[in-house]
Symmetry: C2
Subunit: 238 residues, 2 copies
Amino acid sequence: MPKPVVRDEARRRRRPTRQGTVLSEALIVDTALRLLREHGGGGLTARRLGLALGADPSTLYRYFAGMDDLTRAIGDELMGRALGSWAATGRWRDDLRALGLAVHAAYLAHPQAAVLTASRVTGRPREIAVDETILGILRGAGLPDEDAARIYHTFIDQSLAFAALDAGALALTEESRTADEGMWATTYARLPASSHPHIAATAPLLARRMPHSAYPGALEMLLDHTAARLRAARAAGG
Amino acid sequence: MPKPVVRDEARRRRRPTRQGTVLSEALIVDTALRLLREHGGGGLTARRLGLALGADPSTLYRYFAGMDDLTRAIGDELMGRALGSWAATGRWRDDLRALGLAVHAAYLAHPQAAVLTASRVTGRPREIAVDETILGILRGAGLPDEDAARIYHTFIDQSLAFAALDAGALALTEESRTADEGMWATTYARLPASSHPHIAATAPLLARRMPHSAYPGALEMLLDHTAARLRAARAAGG
DNA sequence: ACGGTAAGGTCAACCGTGTTGGCATAAGGC
DNA sequence: GCCTTATGCCAACACGGTTGACCTTACCGT
């Protein structure tokens, strides 16, 4: 039978660890983020986390149901940081763009964590706050609920999907990352025009473009689409 | 020192395994896909793969440098299947849409494999073939190289990113997947309008929409954008 | 036809992983 | 200040990828 997990705020006694640290959900999540940053994508292990905290690995199970649960908490923390770095201006297009870039940036700031968490819907508080904010921007701009729901869905999924993809590239070890990026300057650039005319013709352009994220461009497409729907709604509404 | 890896076509002897099966890269990849399908996302292990093949796990290292290398090969196989299920019509918009949906579908047909592979650029033959095809459609439609390269980049990253995200949802165990989907009908729907007015107002719409992929919508936005660029290019060109 | 070489399959072992059940200790309500 | 029990610790388990030494037999050259 697994140990019972006690939510942080319901914790009654605070007993320091043998090495003196007093544990908490926040401390564990922060330490996990640090480990991911320092030791790379596979660097987050129960044992290593315990060592970094000065606690036995099994102690973590008093705070999280398992590594999977901890992972979700990390994802929610990233969402919180994204929202914290964002401020509303009242101009829907600027606000939506800034929020998208903030989420993207917050995840990319911890690529290894992003890879682990970006494709999971957590349903935790910070994620809900972000969802509410997005819907608020869209409905506040005057979109009908139908459009708002559809565009919200595309917006959040696109942001998380690109965050995970881009983070995946960043999370590679320095060695294999430069190898991947160099692939465009080598493998692809060397393909003969006879067999791959289109790649050959655009290879220099691609080599310059591929190492960067395509997210800002995709985001702009979504904003264009939103603007068009907004014009349509205003025309129909009066 | 690791065992030397011999590429399939350079293999000189074909020695049957103790249990009689004759190995090959293709057989291993196919079996790996079957295991992922049958046993779920974490179901692909060297030991289990060896067992399914009737071979010792360590034998795999004669064919792939490690599980990571095998993973890349699986990703390339999915690309091949996507391209194989696609046929050109000459109408750029239809072709691009069909190719995007084919890639997305090929990955979603093997969600667990997609999660492992979609965020890696492999540089393997089938992936290069897909890239060449996309660029061909865009340049064939009459786009300037600059636009073609940019839209190609957005297109392939968007397709893979959504494939990984959507596959992530599908790859969950039946239990936690219905839990995740039900979250929209429960957690989100129960948020009070006082604290979360926008979620409360659109909850029924979201509950119906969120379980489906946002990819088709995002793809259509990209096609709209491409059409606009194409009009601009034609206006400028003559 | 056959012998020697080395390719390719096998075995046993290593170390690191998440996770658990039982135990010890001390925090904090009374 | 006692007693309860929350909370941290320990030892162990099953399983993961990976490796080095090994054996066997398919194939090449004669």
